[in-house]
Symmetry: C3
Subunit: 473 residues, 3 copies
């Protein structure tokens, strides 16, 4: 058939100029075989806890859990129910996974020129060996091919973990999580390195849905009965220590803004008591989060866990989708961010301490050159995380390199995060980063700004070394 | 003479890389013959209402009414009076159009590297067949050439409408406009498709100069005597229906911000009554506009008119120019904009309804990737308009493609608007868009991100299909 | 040795495309020999006041006074004390300049891909003739080479001033400065043109550290005893006249924001009296600065001094570094800026007066296309300064050209400022500007947007003419 020679271009994401492309290709050849270090992501540890776990159907793997994918079809009028996305109320949604796949294939053109399209193509071609461009016509045949492969042991998560050459994978785990799947992984004797990450958002955000339940769970997990601000701090410290014993090297924090400000002990206790009584205000919550971020930096200096801060997402912007389908359904929308003023209290407290590594992520690219690069190019405690979420894309990476490195230098950045819950997209995402990074370095070489020897070292650091060192892995 | 071989480069706006240029050229060859769909602009319908209408002198055509042009000379110290721009007070301005043209030609270097310069060159070379680069030396000879052509029937507006291959042209018309010129066009039996667009800004903005007169005019046009908020709504609905019968497929709304918020009926009525008594405050006006934008979305769902929203211009920033020369005199200055929070009330009400098409325009490019693309990549009702005003330029288009498409995809955009009152610049503006668009697609092809078949489809959509579908033309 | 052929690429900063590179090279060949016009910078006039002045050791020249350099090492955990940066309290810092140089060399990789790295490479290769890439291994040998050259008369500041082909150099001098070094330069009969610039920030900012001392010094320098707002104005006017007699053609103003607003005479006097009594509030200071910027524009119209405004830096963001090492120690961090609303009062007063030239600088690139280019593309009094500070870099320049010129045109910009206190980096900085500028123009040529004749004129203006005219030099 006419599309049966479909394959990924071997020079994809490289500049067309022959000189730059040659150098990009050489740099890429030097890093493509490096193991994957995945220091931040959302893979479900359950997949790797049990050696017999599988990914389910092609729709289970590619569509139903992936908000990057279904939000694009939704934006063109396809109901989420038709894509099998489960409703909070248990209401009926499409259960015929072939129909879901067909709908997806018929809308595949929507992904032209998008990073989701590039990852999907990579997964189809490289992970599943598909040799046809997906269309409505061949959708069922390709479904069959993928389903057949998924049924084999070579396509179980642990097998792919090895095939993907993953050196270490960090999951993201609620602070109150007893880490049962990580325990099971360890108990199983499997030699894959999968480590948890301590994420206390639902404990720290006094207005988070389920805050009380989260607090109770943390009490249970940590063995510290939380009745006061002081006991909360102790519980968090103890639970961090538990995560660290389980392999964690980092914490992760999400906040709408980067606001930080110290509370004195009495203020912190008063706010916490109001929260326990269900009477915390929005301003209480904002100030408590601002204070706790400084506390988390203090704890990181004590226990050595690297601190990550993700700022700027308005979660669940679409009330209808949020209420019908729950969180993480493709309707989180960024807003403008500010770091220069907001982070100053935290930096005054700990920014000069090289024992702290605080890795910053933004959804507001205007902060790259204006705020983040100057901050990271000065404060010893700061590193900049890679382009995040909507910016984990070829253009997003180019803008990041162009706007960050001149001021911060490469060595105040933290390599790549895939940040994905789609396990099979991990190699695709790292491959885009490696290719775009090598092409960016090749651009510096052909413009006489660095030499090829420097470029080769920088390519290695981008692909592997920076993430490993920044996350102390 | 030495400059007599002056012509436009046939590869203009294409990347110099030979591989990318070849593909860009092939894509462009496939779309350059497509008809022009012009779904939003400010051409005076009077020009097309009468088959004998003409453009006047070269200065009438190129300089006096075009604030893109005269503001650049003004910025370098040339008085607007010397360019023949009429004063509000009827004071003396230059009336010798040859002198105006001479001044323009002597400052023509100011337009180097600007989109205005590219459009002017295109009009001179392609529309008027000029074969010399305009300078102070040849200014009068070129004036003669243009004047001679303008005197011929082939250079009347209706003739150029056909020559330009315009399939449909939308004008922008005040809500209270009786559409006499559109009536005359219809009555004349001319087969050019020119449709009005319903723009109720002066009615909705309670503090607009001439608001009371606008309200009276709307009462007359709609036949609904407006004495209350309820009758205002009815008058608007009726007048929308009239515009629709006259061929309109869209409305257009300009606002300083994208603020939206529902008022209850009593609040809306109270504010409206204050306005009728000339006592509306700035806050009243802001809240009323925010409410009426939601009402307009509701009406769009009812009557199927596509809704456009243009946000972010501070009109008449320069008081001296505004007072002496009036509105639209090149001193409208953008300010930063916000959509994520501001549009949320409107989107909560109607954002999930695919019957609504709301097309957004911004003068703040930081909102492209941060807010607009994520919003349009999720909400079924949203589409993104093309780069607007200062960003209707090669670099503006490149930034738009690079920042919007990865997240929103191509199919959540709305093709091109020329947005011009300069009729003869329409082909130039669409040509820049088509060239830059094809070059951007060629860049994706040479980087292996899309294949040539996809690129050809996308080029067609960019040049023609997206605008036609988004505006329901 | 293997690195002994190290040299700068002759095509550095040029696009790799052969056609664009050829044109860029031709344009560059046409401007590389032009004299340097340096209309804004921070070179210490003491260096040029005495023909026997020297630069000291290589560490004195390259590291200890240059916050661009030492902040990068600090960001990676190197204490400023180890780099010989003097402490405010006179506490011990490293005094062995060979050790400081060694530390610098061992961290030289941090500068890969940064403008600081490019300038340092240029200085080493072109000014000092070093033929090895600096590393920890060859650090001492290179130290010896540089030290030997610095000991010769050919490497004294005045000799390099001639070798660098500097036509005019502007220093930046406090309003209260008696300009003794400039007097000495004149008295010495040296024919180098070095002019002062009037910078009254410490007088205008009522909360500046040392404001009272500054006021006393201005009284002494101007001979006007400052006891009131009226006498302050007179003192400033008189001192501007003195600077002008000493060769100044410009003033310079730094502010956190571009806020401007008129005070009436009584308000101005009341605030000033509170300041004299040490009781000015932050709001007093903000309003007074906003008022004085308008006053400075008025004085500029009277005396013809060009007015510069630098906006957006939070000085001394890191309290620890600020308190231990003082001002200008690499911890000034930008914040977002706004011009459209803030500058409006000043522009209403004087924006239409072509006798005023107000040159604007921003640390917030989002204002380039959104606010600054539209403002400069309209108001006769405005010009845009070149990319400033963190944006004085190849990518910063490209973004500036791409975002500013389409709307403002080239002729509303003001050429280049090196803005440096590192005298030996002046040729490097101008060379980057000239190269990137020629490459940008070549990009317009190969895209058919301008022809080569226009490009050659524009290259000359970028390299030389724009700065000379904008600063009336």
């Amino acid at each position: 058939m006419t599309t049966s020679n479909w394959h990924l271009s071997e020079n994809r994401f490289f500049d067309p100029d022959p000189a730059q492309r040659r150098i990009a290709g050489e740099l890429y050849a030097g890093v493509t075989g490096l193991p994957i270090v995945s220091p931040h992501g959302h893979v479900d540890p359950r997949l790797l806890a049990d050696e017999t776990a599988t990914f389910g159907t092609p729709a289970d793997l590619f569509i139903i859990p992936d908000h990057y994918v279904f939000r694009m079809l939704y934006s063109q009028g396809v109901p989420l129910e038709a894509l099998g996305v489960p409703r909070v109320d248990g209401g009926a949604v499409e259960s015929d996974h072939r129909k879901i796949w067909q709908l997806f294939a018929e809308h595949y053109h929507l992904f032209r020129g998008t990073p989701s399209g590039a990852w999907l193509d990579h997964e189809l071609a490289e992970v599943f060996g598909i040799r046809q461009k997906l269309t409505g016509v061949n959708a069922q045949a390709i479904y069959d091919e993928i389903a057949a492969r998924l049924a084999t042991p070579a396509f179980r998560p642990r097998a792919l973990f090895k095939r993907f050459n993953i050196e270490v994978l960090a999951t993201t785990d609620a602070a109150d999580d007893p880490l049962a799947h990580h325990q099971a992984m360890r108990a199983s004797g499997w030699d894959g390195r999968v480590v948890p990450t301590f994420r206390p958002d639902t404990v720290i955000n006094l207005l988070a849905p389920g805050w009380t339940a989260s607090m109770d769970a943390l009490s249970r997990s940590s063995g510290v009965e939380i009745r006061s601000y002081a006991t909360l701090i102790r519980a968090l410290e103890d639970q961090r220590a538990y995560f660290k014993r389980m392999g964690a090297t980092a914490t992760d924090h999400a906040a709408v803004t980067a606001f930080t400000a110290r509370l004195n002990a009495a203020e912190a206790e008063a706010i916490f008591q109001r929260a326990l009584q269900g009477q915390a205000s929005a301003e209480d919550a904002r100030r408590f989060t601002g204070h706790m971020l400084i506390e988390m930096a203090r704890m990181s200096i004590d226990d050595g866990l690297v601190m990550q801060l993700h700022v700027g997402s308005i979660r669940g912007h679409n009330a209808l989708v949020r209420e019908r389908f729950g969180a993480d359904k493709g309707c989180d929308i960024p807003t403008s961010s500010e770091f220069t003023h907001n982070l100053r209290p935290l930096l005054e407290a700990f920014g000069n301490d090289p024992r702290l590594t605080l890795i910053l992520f933004t959804l507001d690219e205007t902060t790259y050159a204006r705020e983040l690069a100057p901050l990271a190019g000065h404060y010893p405690a700061l590193r900049l995380g890679p382009p995040w979420w909507f910016y984990d894309s070829p253009n997003g990476m180019r803008r990041y390199f162009d706007q960050v490195i001149e001021t911060a230098g490469l060595y105040n950045t933290a390599g790549f995060n895939d940040d994905t819950r789609a396990f099979c997209s991990i190699p695709a995402r790292h491959d885009v980063w490696r290719r775009v990074g090598c092409d960016w370095l090749a651009g510096l070489v052909v413009r006489g700004q660095i030499d090829e020897a420097d470029a080769a070292e920088m390519a290695h650091d981008l692909a592997y070394g920076l993430a490993k060192r920044a996350y102390r892995l």
